[in-house]
């Protein structure tokens, strides 16, 4: 895919993982983040009891939604599709989504700890929600470690897919941990029927969720393309090795 720019020189449009669409999406996300920071830090009022510590909700919850509900769900679907159809596309999609999910889950844990200190008096406690979330972080980090094992790619993908499915079961525990056990962590923050938030705070919260999800989309496209490039390079390397062996056999 080669394009000609206004100066008349040729430009390779596939020399990066970006494209016209992703550049536009990236610009929207960048503007969205600036607006989110302004809303979250300066425009919204402090919460009645938690005061300014509550401002962490605008990045903590959107990060949790992206990792626990979106990214790892895509990994689950990708893992199932790989085992069912042996689809390389879904295998790489599962890998890309899991890596982004781990990044966002790490951010969820860090912002949660920073929020916990002023509200609970401690950065960490072995509470059901915090513990099950930390277990998810370890499970999906393990998933990424399996993807980097030096072994037959088909076996590696199969093992990773099984781990991708098993790890998702823990997310059900994360989701319902605040209902099943006595938890220091608050219950569901956002309920469509009863948001318990109003005005500019609710707007900022929903805006944060939208911006974070758009950012996830942008990242997923780029990370998938990186995974595809790695797959193609491995494929080209294998083809060259086979041809070299053939030439050796002929000579």
């Amino acid at each position: 895919m080669t394009t000609i720019d206004t100066a008349g020189s040729t430009k390779d449009a596939t020399a990066t993982t970006g494209s016209k669409g992703t550049r536009m999406l990236g610009a929207v996300v960048a503007v969205g983040f600036v607006a989110l920071a302004a809303l979250a830090l300066f425009i919204t009022p402090p919460e009645a009891t938690q005061r300014d510590a509550f401002r962490l909700i605008y990045i903590h919850v959107p990060s949790a939604i992206v990792s626990l509900y979106i990214a790892f769900s895509i990994t689950l679907v990708g893992s199932i599709m790989y085992l069912w159809k042996k689809s390389v596309f879904w295998d790489l999609m599962a890998e890309a989504s899991a890596e982004i999910g781990v990044i966002f889950l790490g951010l969820t844990l860090i912002t949660g700890m920073l929020w916990g200190r002023p509200t609970w008096g401690t950065y960490w406690i072995w509470d059901p929600r915090l513990t099950s979330t930390a277990v998810s972080f370890v499970l999906y980090s393990g998933y990424l470690a399996v993807r980097r094992l030096d072994m037959d790619p088909t076996v590696r993908s199969k093992r990773a897919a099984i781990l991708g499915i098993v790890s998702f079961a823990n997310l059900i525990i994360v989701r319902y941990s605040v209902q099943w056990w006595d938890s220091l962590h608050q219950g569901q923050t956002f309920d469509v029927a009863d948001t318990q938030m109003d005005g500019i705070m609710l707007f900022t919260f929903v805006f944060g969720v939208i911006v974070m999800n758009l950012f996830f989309g942008w990242l997923l496209i780029h990370r998938f393309r990186v995974a595809w490039l790695e797959h193609q390079i491995a494929d080209v390397g294998l083809t060259e090795a086979i041809e070299a062996r053939r030439r050796e056999g002929v000579s």
């Binding site: 895919m1 080669t2 390779d12 596939t14 020399a15 990066t16 993982t17 970006g18 920071a37 979250a40 830090l41 402090p46 938690q50 005061r51 300014d52 510590a53 401002r55 962490l56 990045i59 903590h60 990060s63 596309f89 982004i100 990044i103 790490g106 951010l107 860090i110 912002t111 920073l114 929020w115 200190r117 002023p118 950012f215 990242l219 780029h222 990370r223 998938f224 393309r225 990186v226 595809w228 490039l229 790695e230 193609q232 390079i233 080209v236």
Partner: protein, 45 residues
């Protein structure tokens, strides 16, 4: 009140996500150079 926890939270978010974005984009550029054009994108392949 509690800004000493809020500001580090937002700084960590910017640094972590920004570093990951840069690393992913640079990794993509480096890998793209190793392949012919027709093999670089899933839909083009």
């Amino acid at each position: 009140m509690h800004w000493e926890f809020v500001i580090p939270g937002y700084i960590v978010a910017v640094v972590v996500l920004g570093t990951y974005v840069l690393a992913t984009v640079k990794r993509g550029r480096r890998l793209s150079k190793q392949l012919p054009e027709g093999k670089r994108r899933f839909l083009d392949a």
